[in-house]
């Protein structure tokens, strides 16, 4: 077997080791590459900036542990932004496990910003049904979520006083890793009820949601770790999103190197074969 043939059928494990190193080393020794903010991330930031202190934002945690490394930093970023502007947050989830992750983000930052549960933020919990839940919320939120995630009646919480439907919120932000998620929020909350909707989604999903952004159905969009890093840049702090961008930069560059290398090998092999013929 010639060297070219060997390289053509390179052991996948070599590639895996290279990618591991490309991810681990920058995480351990950050380079701190500056991050440029794209218009979709700026859009979501501006939409929150425009809100007055005391206004309410609805957060839908529609992701799960598997996508946590990508979506959770965005969740933290948006909660941090809202808390810093004294905006009240009402969380909920169309995915059962998302509610727990959202609660974790709330608790982590509530301590830092001195926020109280039930006054400054609340978690209404999970409700199965996807699009039906959003439709029901548009009609009557207290009827759809009579209790919070821990089973306490929402009437006991000052933050829920006067909350009837989507009109009580300045913005809805969906953190999503699939269906039900952003599409359902756009279809009901924006298209039918004219509510401003923003989103934080995985990088794989991002290209599919650009049409919504272009059509003005989303005020802003955070896509994958890059989106989280951009939001952190806007908030002027370094979180896991920014830390991950170094690793992502090196990993992307390495994949490009692999592609170029693979093609060089391919062309050498092809030339050899043609010579034989």
């Amino acid at each position: 077997m010639s060297i070219v043939d060997r390289l053509k059928t390179i052991d996948r494990r070599i590639i895996f080791v290279a990618i591991s190193l490309a991810v681990i080393i920058p995480l351990l020794f950050p380079i701190g590459l500056p991050i440029m903010v794209s218009p979709p991330a700026q859009g979501l930031y501006d939409a929150i900036e425009e809100l007055k202190p005391g206004s309410k934002v609805l957060l839908s945690f529609d992701y799960d542990p598997s996508t946590m490394p990508e979506v959770y930093p965005m969740n933290l970023g948006v909660v941090r932004h809202c808390f810093s502007k004294n905006i009240k947050l009402v969380g909920m989830g169309l995915w059962p496990t998302g509610v727990l992750l959202g609660q974790e983000a709330f608790e982590l930052l509530a301590e830092e910003y001195g926020k109280t549960y039930g006054e400054d933020y609340i978690n209404l919990g999970f409700k199965a049904g996807g699009i039906v839940v959003i439709s029901a919320m548009a009609e009557n939120i207290p009827e759809t979520f009579p209790e919070d995630y821990a089973g306490t009646s929402i009437e006991e919480f000052p933050i829920m006083k006067g909350v009837k439907n989507f009109d009580s919120f300045g913005l809805a932000v969906c953190f999503s890793a699939g269906d039900p998620g952003v599409r359902e929020w756009v279809m009901i909350a924006h298209s039918r009820y004219g509510k401003k909707v923003g989103a934080g989604i995985t990088a794989v999903m991002a290209p599919a949601y650009y049409p919504y952004l272009q059509a003005g159905q989303l005020v802003g969009l955070l896509g994958g770790m890059k989106g989280a890093a951009e939001y952190e840049t806007l908030l002027k702090y370094k979180g896991t999103g920014s830390a991950g961008m170094d690793a992502q930069s090196i990993a992307h560059s390495l994949i490009i190197v692999f592609i170029i290398f693979g093609n060089v090998i391919y062309f050498i092999a092809r030339r050899k074969e043609r010579k034989k013929v």
Binding site: I15, S38, P65, S66, Y210, P211, A251, I256, I259
Partner: protein, 207 residues
């Protein structure tokens, strides 16, 4: 009769759901919610059925000592253990059940998801070849997009992120919309064939 009844139910329900879509009346919305409740109830029962087959399949493997039967012990053991823990400690925050969820289930799922990074690299190395003009264009677009999504791309050439954004919002979107229109029509056509009983494989075919 074994075939006619499910087909009739499918037809009536299919037509009802189409009609329901155009009726905003409270009665119609209630009907929709009732159907969803029914779906959830059927789902709960089917979960029992599914778990039953899972146990059956793995029990058979263990008793026959088929290849890899040891894994089946872990599967059934895990299932029984989590059920027991859930019943004994409950599933509230801070319970053992939730701790296992947070410290075992979450990292395991994240690990599976993270395999994507490795597989993207190996798939790209193996399959991304400039064999034809179209493949070359795809390859160039992929490289530009990958560079456009990282800060390094900006430093290579400050216009790369803009070009990547353009690829996403123009050629990518045009192709996507074309596929989406086709998918939408295909969906309606399939749904119609099922409602009309032309397509009946899902109930095991037959005339």
């Amino acid at each position: 009769m074994r075939r006619q009844l499910p087909l009739a139910i499918c037809f009536v329900m299919g037509v009802s759901m189409v009609v329901q879509f155009f009726i905003p009346h409270r009665v119609s919305q209630e009907f929709y919610r009732t159907i969803l409740d029914w779906y959830r109830i059927v789902f709960a029962f089917s979960l029992v059925l599914g778990t039953g087959t899972l146990i059956k399949v793995h029990w058979a493997k263990i008793s026959k000592k088929s290849k890899g039967w040891q894994y089946s012990i872990i599967t059934i053991g895990g299932l029984v253990f989590m059920l027991a823990v859930g019943f004994i400690t409950g599933i509230q925050e801070g319970t053992l059940f939730m701790k296992i969820f947070e410290y075992v289930e979450v990292p395991l799922e994240a690990t599976m998801f993270s395999l994507l990074a490795f597989y993207i690299a190996s798939a790209a190395y193996r399959a991304f070849r400039a064999r034809t003009v179209e493949a070359t264009l795809l390859l160039i677009a992929a490289v530009v997009l990958m560079l456009g999504r990282i800060p390094f791309g900006y430093y290579l050439w400050h216009k790369i992120p803009g070009i990547a954004e353009w690829i996403l919002t123009n050629p990518n979107m045009a192709a996507k919309r074309g596929i989406v229109i086709g998918v939408g029509l295909g969906m309606i056509s399939t749904a119609l064939k099922i409602i009309l009983g032309i397509e009946r494989s899902y109930i095991g075919g037959g005339k």
